[in-house]
Amino acid sequence: MEIAVLRAGAFSTVQDGGRRGYRASGVPLAGAADPFALRVANLLVGNPEDAAGLEIVLDGPDLYFPEACTVAVGGAEFAGVPAWRPWTVPAGTRVLFGQCLRGYYAYLAVRGGLAVEPVLGSRSTYVRGGWGGWDGRPLHEGDRLPVGLPEGGARADPAPALFVAPSILPPYSESPVVRAIAGAQAAELDPLTATAFKISPKSDRMGLRLLGSPILRRQGGDLRSSAVSPGSVQVPPDGQPIVLLAEAQTLGGYPLAAHVISVDLPLVAQLRPGQTLRFQDIELAEAQRLLVRRERDLALLRSGLRSHWGGGP
């Protein structure tokens, strides 16, 4: 089956769990900007968590399903589209993403996954390089997205009647407090926690640019570039920090003030230009305890859904 794109939306791209193992060649991780939302949406339709889905930004698409297919949407919430629960789109109908009510990035998971050709082990789109995903670019009107076959089932298998418990979801907010562990140059820089920051419109999947009282570097010499990661908070000489996201470059040479912890990165990814965030310090051991606990929660959700969808581990 192919999903027909009647209207593409602002910047709809095919994304999955990201490209691993090629950072030494300078290849960014990429994948979903809010990987948690894509993982949960995939689990809801019985897909592997890192299956490819459609990342939708603010202005959503209008899609035509020639055959019935079970889908789920996670992340940003759109008018006319149920969030965080699976539902079956009947054959020959349209799914129209209305106004974006909350958040910035939504993920449409389709049972069977989007079956574009993997590039370097991933189906995610790398728009800068012009490869991966659907033809290395955001969707256009008239594109036809291939949907794969689910293992041991059919695309239209009826969805279980369930919602995701709100307690498992990140506490998405328009002005979140985001926990971060200290970066390598934290002691040389003004503290990040003193004031709130506004999201600049110059933000994208590579990183969120923050606007606020400048964070100045009080000491320290030249830095050689070394690896950075989604969540790293860089401070360029103008003092306006950048929180790196999924498509961040692999190396950076700016001072590192902090790293947003993995469980809070979805809160940052879902912010729109003009919204605000504050940072709060946290210890590495606590951050990793929270991450391991979240993985345990996801494992519970996975095993709960397995009783419905069946399938392998």
């Binding site: 691993r20 950072r23 030494a24 060649s25 290849v27 570039s225 692999t250 590495l284 990793q288 391991v292």
Partner: protein, 241 residues
């Protein structure tokens, strides 16, 4: 929190990565240790290890904290111990340098210098107090070393640029640098694998392809490779393409 060993420091990079620093500068001995540690880690099959990134005097290890194994309570401590154990087995902090695990490679990159391909060649020459021809012969005489690959897929940061040719990057980056452009930025030289904005001084262009997403590995160069540029004419460039 950093765990110290002679010449070797481990520190966290967020909650899913750690950085091993093997020296204060990317001198040849340090680069050899960085390469040795990176390839040892890639072979070691450490539970939870996801990716290894050598750059200058560091090796960064990306890992999944939920999949690390060991008696320590904190995943970072488990991964640090596994990485240090691997470093000890590869003898990266031994006094005698570890034996190179990778084949020593010399890659030749043809470059058509100046003209429309190298709009900053004259400025680099002025800055160096040399003629354009002398800049070309000095730039193409040296054997460079790949200190890191990054910024964008396949971009090599090359060390070894003669002091005379060093030049700060442009105050205002160009919004569009064509793929294959060869540039000078500070004490390094490099090649843009794809068309992107960039601030290095452009002195020429190569017809070689530095990155192919269909190849494995996708980048022409890897950290530690030696690189030599060879001056070619505009006709040779056209034939190559």
């Amino acid at each position: 929190m950093p765990i110290k060993k002679p010449r070797l420091t481990v520190a966290p990079l967020g909650d899913q990565a750690l950085v091993v620093t093997l020296g204060s500068a990317p001198d040849p001995a340090t680069l050899q240790r960085v390469q040795a540690l990176a390839s040892a880690l890639q072979r070691a099959k450490i539970p939870g290890l996801l990716d290894v990134v050598p750059a200058y005097a560091t090796v960064t290890v990306f890992y999944d904290p939920a999949k690390t194994l060991g008696p320590e309570a904190v995943p970072y401590e488990r991964m640090s111990r596994a990485v240090l154990r691997c470093a000890a087995a590869a003898r990266v902090s031994a006094r005698r340098l570890p034996r190179p695990l990778l084949l020593d490679r010399l890659v030749e990159i043809p470059v058509c210098y100046g003209g429309e391909f190298g709009p900053d060649l004259e400025e680099v020459a002025r800055h160096a107090g040399l003629s354009a021809g002398e800049v070309i012969s000095r730039h193409s005489r040296i054997e460079y070393t790949v200190l890191a690959i990054g910024f964008v897929p396949g971009f090599p940061y090359l060390g070894g640029l003669p002091e005379r040719l060093r030049m700060p990057r442009r105050a205002t980056p160009r919004p569009f640098v064509p793929a294959g452009s060869v540039g000078i930025g500070g004490d390094q030289t490099g090649v843009y694998p794809l068309a992107i904005p960039g601030g290095w001084n452009l002195i020429g262009r190569t017809p070689s392809t530095l990155f192919r997403s269909g190849d494995s590995p996708p980048a022409l160069l890897r950290m530690g490779d030696r690189v030599k540029f060879r001056a070619i004419t505009g006709e040779e460039f056209a034939v190559w393409k």
